[in-house]
Assembly symmetry: C2
Homo-oligomer: 354 residues x 2
């Protein structure tokens, strides 16, 4: 279908992986490893093989699925596996899976023998529209999300909507939150398009638009010194809620569900501390709260949420920084917000469902 | 004294750390961490404070000394310490120590929250003439040296010969091997100068020349695709000998002592498989074997040494690659050598002391 040029590498769309075979041949890799979790090795690897004409010239490295496995212990295991398989610097790692696989596989590849090539084939909506661009790799340490990682670009990225067919609805909804975010921070028309679409039948066009938006932002600011921070909309509070939920809830929120909470809270802050209109706030609140399951930010979690925000890696000099909408389709960054206002946004959020 | 511009950062010589204070002020770091081992915190930190006018605005992170601590467990500990100290992305890590500290500190810094600034103050001769240039960071996994790491440039590097005053003789001799290597691969005059010098009284000029040589090579080939491989002279066999010794000897060889073994063996290979003259081979063999303690490559270690070489990260497609001298002062890379020849070089080495 299309190809998008990102800084130093290509993102291919709906190509049935045709260019991948060419890359592999051109680069003369000494060995190829496919890295997957048990879900994607069951559900996505067969599709991968099919698109690759039953290509079999790789070793499979498999891990257990889920964020809780995106940690340093698993990395050590993969580094050792690569060594055991005799992986040299000229080998290739193909990460086939969601953001956990592309983030952790990217980190392992970017540090194994000081860096080997890797290719990402994101198989969740979230990883297609978000983790696919920007060169961030990362793992969690002590439940602190992405505490360790690098900025390293994959050799290339392949986005195939085919893979989404087996993705649970809840995972689709999770990735959809990032698409809504892309509309909110950059493109009101796109936001309105999404509102009138069905997240269970996402078009390749919409995915392309999201990737394009993220790519534009990231290209202008590869190391998150300025503009890129707008991608953090909904994430300052959302990340804290996600971390809290991961530790405390028996059925933890997905990333997108937590970001949905964060986007509503930060829409409130955008109207309170920035110029977002009351109408826009209502629009965002109504749309997101209808689409996403009800949630309650427990009063006795407030203190811990603030603490999580304090230790967020995006902060500088201890001040919690927000990216806030000035209107739907425009976002400012480096906005200071008081703890009092943050607590008010929690109260606003909880009132929706009361 | 002098300043050397390396790719994207400066290497300062004998400045009494004067520019360091300026960098710290200009960059407005949120927090400063000094990373040292127990030796350098005792012996080098007082000098550091003195040169920095009793500057106290930092937290000290200390580890146990030695290669055996350059591992992932210590990294995890440092990452967590940084987090506990509230380190954000805008903090600075000053690595004060030998190559273990600058390599591990550099790796931790280059991956903590996807990268914070770090400054290296190498305090051993080895780290001043070698680890100071080239942007390699690294740690060992399962006794495999530098199995994991990144290419990340420090913000700047400070070389102060003052620090060498407390360095044990054996450590001086270790670093001196890299200086000899620099002469052998690039500059015969420099090699001859070193031969007529005393390694216990190394001049700042000689250190500067070594750094300059390494910098020239590295600047031409930052990612070790070609030319940079000449720095590997003596290291293909040397690294294997070092690894073996670390595991098996009660008094393991230092890096430089192992490289001295490697340089003699590879001088033999240079005359056998490349154009090094018999006179040059004798010159190198005599000089190095007189300067460095006698050693024996045990027959029953041969097989394991070859295995270590096989898994050396510099190899591609399973072939052991050497950098071999064509004459003293010139080196070729990507030379293929058979196992038989490697074994002969061991025999040659062992004959020196028999
Ligand atoms: N690097 C970045 O820029 C970036 C951006 C956003 C998120 N992330 C990271 O991504 C991670 C979240 O990504 P995610 O939601 O994709 O998580 P994930 O990789 O855990 O995938 C979610 C679940 O879906 C399964 N799955 C994946 N593809 C499937 C398919 N095609 N069919 C059926 N099941 C499938 C997985 O096995 C897993 O159980 C987080 O760790 C986050 O930090 C990174
Ligand atoms: N990054 C690179 O390009 C590069 C190049 C060469 C070597 N290295 C790495 O460097 C390491 C070896 O470096 P090293 O020999 O400096 O090791 P080291 O850091 O272990 O130092 C050797 C010993 O000297 C002590 N010491 C350090 N400075 C001292 C001082 N001024 N006075 C007294 N004692 C002091 C240390 O505590 C240690 O006990 C290896 O891990 C190697 O892989 C890296
Ligand atoms: Zn997100
Ligand atoms: Zn060396």
């Amino acid at each position: 279908m299309k190809k998008l040029e990102s800084a130093g590498h290509s993102i291919y769309f709906e190509t049935e992986l045709a260019p991948l075979m060419k890359v592999i041949e051109a680069e003369k890799y000494s060995k190829i490893f496919v890295f997957a979790d048990t879900h994607t090795s069951e559900l996505c690897l067969p599709l991968f093989r099919e698109m690759m004409d039953d290509f079999n010239g790789f070793d499979l490295i498999e891990t257990d699925p889920g964020e809780e496995n995106k940690n340093i212990d698993f990395c050590i295991g993969i580094w050792k596996t690569l060594l055991d398989f005799g992986a040299d610097r000229k080998c290739l790692m193909v990460n086939l899976g969601g953001g956990v696989i592309t983030d952790m596989g990217g980190f392992v590849a970017s540090t194994y023998k000081r860096g080997i090539d890797f290719i990402n084939i994101p198989t969740t909506l979230l990883s297609q529209v978000d983790a696919s661009v920007g060169g961030k790799t990362g793992i969690d340490v002590d439940n602190v999300k992405n505490m360790v990682g690098t900025f390293t670009l994959p050799q290339s990225v392949f986005i195939e909507t085919k893979f989404l067919k087996t993705l649970p609805q809840r995972e689709l909804l999770s990735g959809f939150a990032e698409m809504i975010k892309h509309g909110l921070i950059v493109d009101r028309t796109y936001y309105n398009d999404l509102k009138s679409s069905n997240y269970l039948q996402i078009s390749a066009q919409a995915i392309y638009r999201s990737v394009e938006i993220k790519n534009e932002v990231v290209t202008e600011d590869p190391h998150e010194k300025g503009l890129r921070k707008i991608l953090n909309y909904g994430h300052t509070i959302g990340h804290a809620v996600e971390t809290y939920s991961l530790i405390n809830d028996t059925q933890p929120l997905t990333h997108g569900e937590a970001i949905a909470v964060g986007m509503i809270c930060e829409a409130f802050l955008s109207s309170n501390n920035n110029t977002l209109s009351a109408d826009d706030l209502k629009d965002i609140t109504d749309y997101i709260s209808t689409l996403y399951p009800a949630y309650r930010i427990k009063e006795d979690s407030f203190k811990q949420l603030l603490e999580f925000m304090q230790s967020d890696k995006k902060n500088e000099n201890g001040q919690i920084m927000f990216s806030l909408l000035s209107t739907i389709g425009k976002c400012d960054y480096n906005c200071r917000v008081s703890e009092k206002d943050i607590l008010e946004s929690f109260a606003y959020f909880n009132r929706i469902y009361s």
